[in-house]
Symmetry: C2
Subunit: 202 residues, 2 copies
């Protein structure tokens, strides 16, 4: 538990660092393949004229991300095996962000469990799951959804082929964490992206 | 690293325990919602007349699993927050298995990362991912696929709606771990279940 405490202090330090540099930092976390990268790309398409954007992407091994094609500064962190980013680990990368950066997306390692305990110092923690993950995905991970400022249920375009009611997932989230905004999206069709941008105040 | 070593020793003890009790133990691991429970259920439907089956299911919080409906002895472990099962943790549950048990499926916590490092003492480690997780899912998790005896790519029934070629995923797996059997399945339609049963020698 000292690790948790130590991380909280370093996360606060990061928070101050972002503030002093005028960088708005938004963390995306969620299970593997839920669509974190795709959603960040969709958001960037819509707001890149408003901000100087950078992306820090954490993975165990290389992520051939397509965010670079959007002309946005990207830093890829390969942890080698560490199952979550933490405040200390990202600090040197954060310090390397281009000086004009004023909006930074940090995509955590694909993992719906471990990252919840290690905040990074961002103003938002956006938890992303896919409708493809089944009807109990939120109910089975209360500790993760409790730390979310925004919860996103992605891949709505596949709804008709799945036995999974998005409304029930929204209810599950609201009962675990009434304060989190819940957004239904499809990174494929663009559905819900405007709403996601709105709840993130971008 | 002492934790890893200690777990390996306890995993070997579990292996001997299973052997002495005449129980074949098969571990299912893989990311959240990939279909581990559904695949175990499909296998059980086909082989339950051949074996006395028990299921141990690990989750962070309750899994309303439908395996009990199959009339199979099930033990649900809720870890509360631990992101992977380990050999020590499952031992008391394994000792509680009904005496006539000769086949035990152990479903690890939904997590494609942490469980790889903590074998439980089973004869098979079946790693399950969904076609819905995107084309890089295997390439991004080499350490996990390296410990697989069988790799399963599930949810093939959704192939036409996804930009993801199962053949490429099979190649990714074979290049990381040539010794693992790779099976394409749909727990929904039943596709590949016979083949999965065959590679598991059931
Ligand atoms: N379309 C489709 N859906 C599937 C398939 N297999 C499982 N599902 C669905 O995917 C969701 C998750 O399935 P589960 O079997 O609970 O997955 P799991 O890996 O056990 O999930 P966790 O234990 O929570 O990690 C459920 O809604 C299933 O109905 C499949 O082959 N095709
Ligand atoms: N059908 C559908 N597919 C999607 C959607 N969003 C993402 N995908 C697909 O899902 C796969 C994974 O998407 P990513 O954006 O890489 O997901 P991720 O959460 O960043 O994955 P990791 O970083 O590996 O944890 C890709 O093949 C995407 O094309 C969606 O809304 N609908
Ligand atoms: Mg990603
Ligand atoms: Mg399950
Ligand atoms: Zn972890
Ligand atoms: Zn872990």
């Amino acid at each position: 538990k000292d690790l948790i405490q130590a991380n909280e202090e370093l996360a606060d330090e990061n928070k101050n660092y972002f503030k002093n540099r005028g960088i708005r930092a938004i963390e995306f976390l969620g299970n593997i393949g839920s669509g974190k990268t795709s959603l960040i790309a969709k958001i960037i398409e819509k707001v890149k004229d408003k901000y100087n954007i950078a992306v820090i992407n954490g993975d165990i091994a290389g992520d051939p991300t397509d965010i670079e094609r959007l002309g946005v500064s990207t830093i890829q962190i390969n942890t080698g095996g560490e199952c979550h980013l933490d405040a200390k680990y990202i600090r040197p990368f954060v310090e390397k962000l281009p000086s004009e950066t004023n909006l930074c997306f940090i995509e955590n390692v694909g993992n719906l469990i471990c990252p919840f305990e290690f905040p990074l110092g961002c103003e938002h923690r956006v938890v992303v799951v896919g409708l493809t993950d089944g009807p109990f995905i939120i109910r089975k991970h209360p500790v993760t959804f409790r730390i979310a400022t925004v919860a996103v249920i992605n891949k709505l375009d596949l709804q008709e082929f799945l036995d999974n009611d998005p409304k029930k997932l929204v209810e599950d989230c609201k009962s675990i964490n009434p304060k989190a905004a819940v957004v239904l999206t499809s990174a494929k069709t663009g559905k819900g992206i405007e709403e996601l941008i709105k709840v993130l105040n971008l």
